[in-house]
Symmetry: C2
Subunit: 154 residues, 2 copies
């Protein structure tokens, strides 16, 4: 077994056995060195975004002092949900390894399918009712951004 994946899976065991969160772990590695280990902390922190991958990304970016993890790779004990996949992309990581699949996760009650369906525009039932309002009035910041000279790109 890949040693970093084994670390991620071990962390999944730990967080579950300590009742800290669901059975998920993630490890961020740079040049063969572990930078951060994340575990699901939804229950302990009351933060619904505290999935293992997001927790690992927050730790790694804090430690390295940059939001750019393009020289890192991530090992996740399970296929990341759309939130976590997006976070990995925003962190600019180029390699993602996962162990269990989204279908394995769905079988034990962690089902991401609704999110996939919404993002693909084919959800049959709206769990989140989404409405576009005040469109024209909301464009002001974007217009200002487009001509802003001292903007920091990220």
């Amino acid at each position: 077994m890949n040693k970093f994946m084994k670390m991620a899976v071990d962390e999944a065991y730990n967080t579950m056995r300590e009742n800290a969160g669901g059975p998920f772990g993630a490890v961020i590695v740079r040049n063969g060195e572990v930078i951060a280990v994340g575990r699901n902390e939804v229950i302990t922190t009351n933060d619904p975004t505290a999935h293992a991958e997001v927790v690992a990304i927050r730790k790694a970016t804090k430690l390295l002092g940059t939001f750019d993890l393009s020289d890192c790779e991530i090992y996740s004990s399970c296929e990341p949900c759309p939130m976590c996949f997006s976070a990995i992309h925003w962190a600019k990581m180029k390699n993602l390894y996962f162990g269990a699949t989204r279908y394995d996760a769905a079988e034990i009650g962690f089902d991401d399918q609704y999110i996939y369906d919404v993002l693909e525009g084919k959800a049959s039932k709206e769990q989140v009712v989404v409405k576009n309002i005040d469109h024209e009035d909301s464009l002001g910041p974007f217009k200002e951004w487009s001509t802003k000279h001292d903007k920091v790109k990220y």
Copy 2:
């Protein structure tokens, strides 16, 4: 203009003008009362997950002491990216209002299309190389979770 959307747009102006992050703001409301205001903090915190909606969710859940925001709604100055939409769903919110669209955002350089393409399985180029490894060896935590008697569901 909806008063909560105006607050979200005002926050988008503020974070941009202070060079704290991109021109994005979000407001979480419960029973007509503002619970949390979030702004894009990617640059100030080096956290690539610190989009306005995620920041607002973290603030609201911390304040209310629960990961369940099902009695809240969120106003975002711009259509949430897939990370933020997923976070809103995980926080169990049932109503999302947004102002500018993902297409408006793409025009000023904030383009989520790659993420949508990956999640729909139709990305033509792999920016994030995704590999499934050690599948069988990664299923242990899920097997243990399925028979765990004292698990906390969330």
